[in-house]
Amino acid sequence: MSTAPTSPGPARAPVYALVGNPNCGKSTLFNALTGLKQKIGNYPGVTVEKKIGTAYSQHGHALTIIDLPGAYSLAARSPDEAVLRDVLLGRRTDTPMPDRIVCIADATNLERNLYLIHQILDLGRPVILVLNMMDVAAQTGLVVRAARLEKELGIPVIPCEAINGKGLVELKLAMSRHDLPLSRHSWEIPAPIAPAVSELAASLVDNDQRGPLIARAEALLLLTDQDTVRVAGSRPLSARTTEILRSWEKRWQGQGTDWAGALVNSRYDAITELCTHVIERSAVKTGASVSDRIDAVVTHPLWGWLVLGGVMAALFLSIFTLAQVPMDWIGDHTAALATWVKHTMPAGDLRDLVTDGAIGGVGSVITFLPQILILFFFIGLLESTGYMARAAFIMDRLMSRVGLNGKSFIPMLSSYACAIPGIMATRTIEDTKDRLVTILVAPLMSCSARLPVYLLLIAALFPSAAVPVGAKVAIMLTMYALGTAGAFFFAWLFKRTLLKGEPPLMIMELPPYRLPKMRDVALHMLERAWLFMKRAGTIILGISIILWFLTAYPKAPAGSTDSQQIAQSFAGMAGHALEPVIKPLGFDWQIGIGLISSFAAREVFVSSMGVIFNAESSEENTAPLRDALLAAKWPDGRALFTPLVCITLMVFYVFAMQCMSTIAVVKRETNSWRWPLFQTVYMTGTAWLVCLIIYQTGRALGF
């Protein structure tokens, strides 16, 4: 494999990698260049996987752009940083080795941002430096002289405001230059260490097939970080290189030389020297910044919790109040559609398939779209203001009690939206065991797919309009709290037993607050709405149709009622087979069908109930699902959905692992079937046990 800088051939568009510290605006710039919609958020670690897009130069030539996760150093600490390192060093087979590197620095925070960029200059590839967030720099009274930095480094330096699209033209012009210069910046490797760098670099070229420039950069990294795996990645170093490394380390240890420290220090010395010429503080800053003043409230021992509680209360109140109107509207229209189909199509199996299977199933789920949008609006606000990082800061102490750190709280918070991005976000966690624990417990956080289930069951629990909203909100909050408590408990248990490890670090950057970008929040909501509708139109529609067939066949003898038909259908047989297991929880075979079908996705419970119970409703009209549920009875005439059963069923959904996509992502992220299987078993087992206790205690108390 060649690792020397390749000049872009005529056949293939040149490849540019966007590289920089976390949260410096790489994805914002990527979106501005390519027109794609990478997720943006104001906290470190939003992007955790590479993303390839195409931009067009001022002359219309295609440029391939790779957006990458952020990192503070090429010596990768966590899986997301490893993605950056591996793409840059050409170790990923699925990604072309970048020909040129666009480094992005947050201009308000140049010194630390330049550390990674300094390491990248060592790679000896053409680099363009973008100074982003120039607007913020100007506001805080920083003057950053790009021209001076350009002169010092000898590479193009372009001031930018990615968020406002400023500087893009200049950037594209620089990107399409054929004669991009290499940096002429040189820094002094401390004298006692220099010979080791040359010796290691030579050995890396001879024994590890590295290109000469990459070899030097890698030698420096090996000396910075004691853990060779973090530098070399999964390909182990050759014995010879390891031997050289060890013998130098031994010699330095004997002399008391702090080689790693000396290397980092001399890099920072070079950077500080650069910055004295480049940065000028024009205005003397007076008093605390806006961000600091917000933080004084948000992280206050008392106000902080009130703010958190207030946000949660506002979220759930709006889910129950604001959503009602659009929800009724959607409900009325799907019901009208079903009624219309019933009147226009000739009676028969096909008509029933359309009304009961397709419309009944999908319709019952999409009525919950407004609530899901509200949830994503709130999560979007938290993400784009910078509150996520504060939540991690506040929660760190609690998280340390269970053996994790505040960083694990960010994936857990994301899991309130959906466990899949939550599990992806665990890539920012340094320690593999902590990461695994977080993956194992993340799906216990109530995701948006559970929302329709909770809402339907709460509606069945409180059919009367007289019940105050507060009671519904309280039940909902209890379910969320239960899931969260479960996640904490199991994290504690796993850290104690299966995955014992060191107490983790909590070294994290807290970005300044930013006004939420309504555009980003709206885009994120739209994308989520689209995903939700797509799921409704594919998985949920598909399963509703299959379920309809399974409930319609085999046909019962003529003259039997709808419920007799379902009871002896294929679905009914499956439900009956499950009934002995779930009867102690108060669930009958019909709920059993819902539980089985929910293993595809949790919302399917709602559509399944739509298919199963609406089949029994009158020919002329499709009753609201809630009323259909309330009318359901055990064979002996007892009501099926008693308040106790509604609660028990909700608790089942809090704990049970019922999501194919999550299982698939856990398999990919942990690289084995062991963990997703373990997770499915422990979660579903807990669900069963907790429900058994609740239902049996409830019965004993006379509910």
């Binding site: 503070y72 308000t108 909590m506 070294i507 807290l510």
Partner: protein, 82 residues
């Protein structure tokens, strides 16, 4: 002779210059790479509601670290200017 104290015992709002720094350990390598070096000025901004972790300002940005790490970093407080 300079007076050094532990970073974890610095008063909130006070600034100090980092003096002594552990050579080994993941936490300290990462802190170093993020710009906390001997000679760097840091300011303790606040502690989290439950007393841990700490938030410091270093090189113009805000960083959190736990008390257990801050205990190993020795700093020399800068006398507040009158």
């Amino acid at each position: 002779m300079v007076e050094t104290i532990k970073l974890s015992t610095l008063a909130i709002g006070a600034s100090a210059v980092v003096r002594e720094y552990p050579k080994q350990g993941n936490a300290f390598l990462r802190l170093r790479e993020m710009g906390v070096l001997p000679g760097t000025t840091v300011t303790l901004i606040r502690t989290a509601p439950m007393g841990d972790p700490l938030e410091i300002k270093v090189r113009g940005y805000n960083l959190t670290l736990r008390k257990t790490e801050a205990e190993h970093v020795l700093v020399e407080p800068i006398a507040p200017r009158a």
